[in-house]
Symmetry: C2
Subunit: 140 residues, 2 copies
Amino acid sequence: METIAENQRVKTAKKIEKMFGHIDYKNPPELCPVRDVMSVASDQWSTLIILWLGYFETLRFNKLKKYVYGISNKVLSQRLKVLEADGYISRKAFPEVPIRVEYALTEFGQSYVERLLELTEWMQQNSPKVLANREKYGIV
Amino acid sequence: METIAENQRVKTAKKIEKMFGHIDYKNPPELCPVRDVMSVASDQWSTLIILWLGYFETLRFNKLKKYVYGISNKVLSQRLKVLEADGYISRKAFPEVPIRVEYALTEFGQSYVERLLELTEWMQQNSPKVLANREKYGIV
DNA sequence: TCATATGGTTACTTTTTGTAACTTACTCTT
DNA sequence: AAGAGTAAGTTACAAAAAGTAACCATATGA
């Protein structure tokens, strides 16, 4: 066995224990904060929205829709609302005509995007590997 | 302006540019590998499955179901298949009676869980903040 | 006057999830 | 010997989420 890899595995396990170790699986809580928060922030569209707001300091609704291509008005609007409610982004409406609305990351959102980026960079580096695995597996 | 925070912001923006800068938004690709890979790996149930396999070296179907509480047989079975196809986990079936099936992280999955953990630890630390924001926002 | 732009909303359809019962084959209990 | 239990799923059906496309008010530019 490679002891370095094994060491890392043990470290990882300890972190996970710290995260979920308190849960009683005979009677699990109906709402776990980690799950709850994660399901909003790491939703597919949410991550793209947050990444783009990490690139541009502010973005208006239609610009955001252009960069997060494929998203519908409806879902974009919904996601922006929950991301605002959870404190990742801010919404500023200017009473002009036509109305101008600017979305931006909050400080909290900024701290999140930095963590998120580490994951997405890993995804980018490893996507060829995943795609190759998928091919090999057959069912695509 | 705080120059340290501003510096960090610029760094973040550069990373995002590197990730998405090549895309032509007048004619965006219908399938972006980063999106594609991310949508499997950072799915709500998938992350929980991967975390638990990062804790126990191997887990059988029903144990996994116990820890990833709330998941249905159907969805667990589906997720395990795609996670196997994408190369994160391995499935070993022992021809006993009744059949025994062991799931485990591959080396690749192990390297993923380490990245994933950084995110989920952040989530755990910050979930009180998010929940407080949500409360303040009103619509729960 | 008609088209365009803004930031959405609404009604409707399609896809994805969740629920719960069922399967196969063997063993343990009564 | 009949019935229940176990393991790892599958299947048919119901509910929830997401996607589609038309629509809204208001004002400007052609």
